[in-house]
């Protein structure tokens, strides 16, 4: 019952509740971010059971360290996805499972409300069109790193380029993406928890 009644809370307030060991807040955050988290982990790991491991580990990281979250630094959902990404990347490097295809058409999410799915699709299109505007080499470096789990030094070896070149490419590409995505970053379509009063 409580979980439904946490629906008005922001992601950030939920993380604060998680830091108070409030299990229902963890459940609510999982319901908000878990699907995207799993999609991300699966994209990197290409394996259902490893993707589950990455998401589970990340949510337990959240459970244990929610008190260290600083709302001024990042949105809570972004922070959670950062935890998931790091777990997935660590796993993919350990398992040597990485696939080399930079991008493939991922299947559409199969659950969630139609409205939610529509927002997610808009998000995807927006990000993909921004990625498409990057110079090829910058896009390749970012996609192989973020979705493929390659480290900069692995990329340098794989692409036969000096490490410094890879580092610069990644920085320039990410800076450019930041410009291209612009204000949209502040108001992601999946943000569905505006500050509201309980009274």
């Amino acid at each position: 019952m409580l979980r439904r009644d946490l629906a008005h809370l922001s992601d950030e307030a939920l993380v604060a509740l998680v830091s108070r060991s409030e299990e229902s807040a963890l459940a609510e955050l999982y319901d908000r971010v878990g699907g995207i988290a799993y999609g991300l982990a699966f994209r990197i790991l290409r394996d259902e059971s490893l993707a589950e491991d990455a998401v589970q580990d990340a949510f337990l990281d959240l459970w244990r360290s929610a008190g260290s979250f600083i709302p001024e630094r990042a949105k809570a959902s972004t922070w959670i996805l950062t935890l998931v990404h790091r777990r997935a990347v660590d796993l993919v490097r350990r398992e040597q499972r990485r696939r080399t295809e930079p991008l493939e058409n991922a299947p559409e999410p199969t659950e969630g409300s139609a409205e939610e799915a529509a927002w997610l699709r808009l998000d995807r299109e927006r990000v993909q069109s921004a990625l498409a505007k990057l110079p090829d080499q910058q896009r390749e470096a970012i996609e192989l790193a973020y979705y493929g789990g390659y480290s900069q030094s692995e990329l340098a070896e794989r692409l036969g380029e000096p490490l410094g070149t890879i580092k610069s490419r990644m920085f320039s590409g990410l800076s450019r993406l930041r410009e291209l995505l612009g204000n949209g970053l502040e108001s992601s379509g999946t943000e569905r928890t505006p500050w509201t009063s309980t009274s």
Binding site: E23, A37, A51, E52, F59, V84, R86, L155, L174
Partner: protein
């Protein structure tokens, strides 16, 4: 190599482990890189949202919650004290409970508390401690300065024409400390001193000046 550039690789988790550690060190002393990281995390967050892909199996949620439950550790469990406060049956009982020494009382909050930002301020305060009620109906979260919130779990939404009212005991008198209608997070409208107790009753809409009904639960910040 320009250290600042590594912030991009850090945000994408593309640094080798040793480099990652070294860059965290650098971040702690470089304001510019922290600002970059904040922006780059927004970008990587957008990349994460753009992934698509399959949905997780339904069983994953339960496994995560089960594991979390087994690690639950930082809540002060309710301990029965020598003056057990049973369900308060009336205003007289409130006075009786207070008579056996339940505490020194609150000063009202000078700062207006309203809405979710205040909830976050209390729940996210690193100095705050969490106390559980006797049967797990609610947790009481109290900051070092006495601002408090109840996280209510087990109550049904208040029936039409009724509100749940929160009370803090002050010099033998139950002082009004806020209203809520349904489980969730409710901020207390007055400050709590260490050791003070909080009770919740069901009252008519808008609340009353003194409790008229039995307490549904009580919890104490000690």
């Amino acid at each position: 190599m320009d250290l600042h550039e590594l912030t991009a690789g850090y945000a994408l988790d593309a640094l080798d482990p040793a480099e990652r550690v070294a860059h965290e060190e650098h971040l702690s002393s470089c304001e510019r890189c922290r600002e970059d990281l904040q922006a780059f995390w927004q970008v990587s967050g957008a990349l994460a949202h753009a992934t698509g892909g399959p949905m997780p199996p339904a069983s994953l949620r339960g496994r995560i919650l089960e594991q979390a439950r087994s690690e639950r550790s930082n809540v002060v469990p309710f301990r029965r004290r020598r003056f057990v406060a049973p369900a308060l049956s009336s205003a007289a009982a409130v006075a009786a409970v207070a008579a056996i020494g339940l505490g020194l009382w609150a000063t009202s909050l000078s700062r207006d508390l309203d809405g979710a930002e205040s909830e976050l301020a209390v729940l996210g305060d690193p100095t705050a401690r969490t106390y559980e009620s006797a049967s797990g109906e609610a947790n009481l979260v109290v900051t070092a300065s006495g601002e408090a919130a109840l996280v209510v779990r087990t109550l049904a939404p208040a029936p039409a024409g009724k509100d749940y009212e929160i009370w803090i005991f002050e010099n033998g008198v139950a002082r009004r400390a806020g209203l809520f209608e349904r489980p969730g997070v409710a901020l207390l409208t007055r400050r709590l001193e260490p050791g003070q107790s909080v009770a919740v009753t069901l009252e008519v809409d808008g609340g009353v000046d003194a409790p008229t009904r039995a307490a549904l639960f009580t919890t104490s910040s000690a």
